[in-house]
Subunit: 440 residues, 2 copies
C-alpha cells in the first residue's frame, strides 16, 4: 500500500495499515512530517506554529496524545477579554461580549438562528439538508447583510468566520459554513476554548505526536518525496516521485484537495473529481508568537484573548507554555493575511506589535522573541487552516469528495465527517480510508 | 524567450516575439496545438468541437482569419426559435421569447437592470466598480432569487449563465458575471449570434487558424512537452519538462489559471498568486454535433435554435457547414455536463437524440453521424469554455492576475481585458504579454 502525505491523515492511515500487517510506503513531499502542524524554536522555546489545540470533544486526538504519553493542559482563559469592533475597543469579564444591549440581542438571535440551521444539516451528507440549494447559493457575507443590522455584530461574525476558515465571508457558502459547524459539534463547540475546539494544548507540541506516529513506521517513511504522477488500473497503482516509483494494490492520497489535483493521473480522474479539486481552495492564516519576560497582561487582569474585526490581527490568545514562558499568540487570517504577508518583515512585525500595544499596553511592544509562520508561503499547504469548497460546489460535486477512483482512495481532514478541518478530522479521515482499503 | 501553452494566447505571444526577432520556444503539453479549439471528423466532415465562433466585434480574430485567408460565414439564425422552460415548450419568430406578457416584462426589466449594472463595471479594473464588495459577495443565483419572481424568467437567465460560463449561477459572483459581460461589450453582445459573439463561423475551422500561426513558428514549437516546474531569479528563468529544459530571460505562461497553479515554481510564487490560482476553476461544457441527410428543421421553418433550462441540452444551434452538410450543435453545460458526462456513451447519445426529437420531430433522432467532446475529460483544459474566479476572489486576489512574478508573465484568455473567455481574449492577452516582455 502507498500513502501520500505524512500529516495526521496520512500518518493515521499508514499506521492503521502497518498495524494490520500491510507493507506500507508513506511518501511525503516536505523534508519533515506533520503537515499543517509544526514546532519551531522561538527564543529558545518550542511553539506550535500550525494546528495546536485538541478540542474538548476530539477523542481521537486525545487518545493519541494519551497513547504516546503527551501531557495536556488547558488553554488559559482567565481574566478580562478585549473586543475591537469598527475601531471601538471594549473589555468584558463574563462570556457575554461588551456590546450595547440591542446589539447583544441581535448577536444572540444570530447565534441562535445559526444553531437552528446547523441542526438541519446532516453530518455525513450536508447536501441532503432541506434547504441545501438555497444555502449553497448564498454566501455567508450576503446572508449576514440580509440578516444582521448592527455593523458591530456583523464585524464579530465576520471575525469568527475568518478565524475558523481563514477566508472572507464572501468566499464561503452558508451551507459550507453550517456543515463545518455541524461537523465540529455546533457553533459554540467550534469557536470556544473552554469545552470547545481550543480546549487543550499539548506539552511538547502537536508535531511531536505526529513524530511518534512516524517513528512507528520506521523505514516505510520517505521524506522529500513529492508525488508527481499516478498511473492506475482497477487492480494496481504505480506512484511516481522525481526519481523513485512504487507499485501497490491500493493507494491513499492524504493531502489537501487542491494539491491532490496537482498530481498527474493516468488515466485522468473522472471530470467530476477534477472539477471538485479545482473548487476547493485553502484559507489563509499566519500565526505570530511573541514571548515576554513576564505575563504582564495577566497581572493587569487580562486573559490575553482579543477579537478584532480590523487589521492585521483577528484573534489573540494567551500562549504561555506549561512551564511558564509567557507568550501571546496572534492570528492573521483571510484577506488580512494576504495583505500583511505581502509586506516586508519589519513592517509585519511592527503592525503586530502596534496592535498588541493598543490592547495590552507598551510592554506588549517589547517581546523577548518574535516568531511567525505564514502558511500561504508554504507551497505544500497553500494556506491554512483548511480548504473549503467554493459556493455552488457542494450541491454540484460533493459526491466526488470521498469516492475512490479505481484503487485510489482519498483522505485528509477536508474529507472528514467529524471535525473536518482539524487534526481530529485528519485522523478520522485516515482511519476511514485505511478501513476502506483493508476491507476491499 | 519561452512561451508555455500553444492555444491562441500562447501562439499569439510567440508569434509577436518571433516577429520581433526574438528566439522563442513554445511548449505545449498536448500532442496538438489549439488549446480549447479542436477540429474533429464527424461522418467525413470536419467540425469545431471547441471554440468555433468569431464575434461581430472581435476584430483580432477577424484579422487573423483574414490574414491567413480563412473565409467566414454567418451563423444560421433564420426561422422559428424554440424555448423550453420548466418543461413548457414554446416557439417564437421574432427576437422576443414566447413568454406570457408579465414574464416578458420581468425579463426585459431584468436584462435592463443587468445592463445598467454592467455599465458601472470598469473594463480594465472591474473591482473598482462602485458596488464591488456587494456584487462580489452575492452569487448570481442569490441575486436572481431576490430580483426575479417568475420561475420561467429565472430559468432563462440560468440557461444564459450556464451557456456563457459553463457554470451554475450559484458558482459565480454577480461581479464576475457583470465584469465578463462588460469585457464582451454587454449582455446582448455576449449572448447573441447576430451582431454578437456567435456571429461568424470559419470555413476550415478555428483550429486551422491556430495551425497557421504554429506553422510560422516552425521548429520553435515543442508538442507533447508538459511543463512540470519553473526555476527563476529576477533575471533568468529555467523551464523544465519531463526530459528537456530551457533557459531564457523571460517566460510567458499562457495556460488556464488552475493549470498554471499546477506547475512547481521555485521559489514559490507569492501567496496571493497561489491563492488566486486555487480560486479559478473551469466551467464544464460538452459539445455534441449531429449531422443529417437534409436540414429538415429548416424545411419545417425552424432556425435550429433552442434554449432549455432542463437536462441535458441547454442550447442548440444550426451547425450546417458552408458547403451544406446539415448539422445541429448541442451544448451540455454546467451541472448537466457533469451528470451527462458520467453516463455511458450509449445513454449520453440517447438523451441527446431524445431531446432533439422532442423539439424537431423524429427525424432528429436519426443522425447520419454523431460526435461529441466532453472538455471535462481533457486534463489539459479541465473543462470549458472558460475559468472563472469563485465568489469573493475578485475583491481579494484580483491584483495577482496579470502581475508578473520576476521574469514570469501571465497570458491566457482568463487574463484578458477585452473578450475574456473567448479566442479574442486569448489573442489580446498573448499580445499584451508579448508587449510586456519586449518592453522590459
Amino acid at each position: 500500500m502507498v500513502v501520500i502525505g505524512a500529516g495526521f491523515a496520512g500518518l493515521s492511515a499508514a499506521r492503521e495499515l502497518a498495524r494490520a500487517g500491510k507493507k506500507v510506503a508513506l511518501l511525503e513531499a516536505r523534508d519533515r512530517i506533520g503537515g499543517r502542524t509544526i514546532s519551531e524554536d522561538i527564543g529558545g522555546t518550542e511553539f506550535c506554529l500550525g494546528a495546536q489545540w485538541i478540542g474538548a470533544n476530539q477523542h481521537r486526538m486525545a487518545a493519541l496524545a494519551d497513547e504516546y504519553g503527551f501531557e495536556r493542559f488547558p488553554t488559559w482563559t482567565t481574566g478580562t477579554k478585549t473586543l475591537e469592533l469598527k475601531g471601538n475597543v471594549s473589555t468584558y469579564e463574563s462570556d457575554i461580549p461588551s456590546l450595547p444591549w440591542l446589539h447583544l440581542l441581535e448577536l444572540q438571535l444570530t447565534m441562535w438562528r445559526i444553531d437552528r440551521h446547523v441542526d438541519l444539516v446532516p453530518v455525513d451528507h450536508p447536501i441532503k439538508s432541506p434547504y441545501s440549494d438555497e444555502w449553497e447559493e448564498i454566501t455567508v457575507a450576503a446572508w449576514e447583510r440580509r440578516n444582521i443590522r448592527s455593523r458591530r455584530v456583523r464585524g464579530l461574525i465576520d471575525s469568527m468566520v475568518r478565524i475558523v476558515f481563514g477566508m472572507e465571508p464572501s468566499e464561503l457558502s452558508l451551507l459550507r459554513f453550517l456543515a463545518y459547524m455541524r461537523s465540529g459539534g455546533g457553533l459554540n463547540s467550534v469557536v470556544e476554548a473552554e469545552n470547545g475546539a481550543q480546549q487543550w494544548r499539548v506539552v511538547g507540541g502537536t508535531q511531536a505526536i505526529a513524530q511518534k506516529m512516524a517513528d512507528e513506521l520506521g523505514k516505510s517513511l520517505f521524506l522529500s518525496t513529492p508525488v508527481r504522477s499516478i498511473e492506475y488500473t482497477d487492480k494496481r497503482v504505480r506512484v511516481f516521485s522525481d526519481e523513485l516509483s512504487w507499485t501497490a494494490k491500493k493507494c491513499i492520497v492524504a493531502i489537501p484537495p487542491h494539491l491532490a489535483g496537482k498530481i498527474d493521473y493516468s488515466p485522468p480522474v473522472p471530470a467530476l473529481r477534477d472539477q471538485l479539486t479545482q473548487r476547493f481552495p485553502m484559507g489563509q492564516t499566519a500565526k505570530v508568537v511573541t514571548t515576554y519576560e513576564r505575563p504582564f497582561w495577566r497581572h493587569k487582569g487580562f486573559s490575553g484573548e482579543v477579537v478584532c474585526d480590523g487589521a492585521p490581527i483577528t484573534i489573540v490568545y494567551d500562549n504561555t507554555t506549561k512551564d511558564g514562558v509567557p507568550a501571546l499568540l496572534s492570528f492573521v487570517v483571510g484577506d488580512n493575511a494576504r495583505r500583511w504577508g505581502a509586506m516586508p518583515a519589519e513592517a509585519r512585525r511592527m503592525q503586530i506589535l502596534e496592535s498588541l500595544g493598543r490592547w495590552f499596553g507598551p510592554e506588549a511592544k517589547k517581546p523577548v522573541a518574535y516568531g511567525e509562520k505564514d502558511w500561504g508561503n508554504d507551497p505544500w499547504a497553500g494556506g491554512c487552516p483548511t480548504a473549503s469548497p467554493t459556493p455552488g460546489t457542494m450541491t454540484v460535486a460533493w459526491e466526488a469528495l470521498r469516492k475512490p477512483v479505481g484503487p485510489i482512495h482519498w483522505a485528509g481532514t477536508e474529507t472528514a465527517v467529524e471535525w473536518t478541518g482539524y487534526m481530529e478530522g485528519a485522523v478520522q479521515s485516515g482511519e476511514r480510508a485505511a478501513r476502506e482499503v483493508l476491507s476491499s
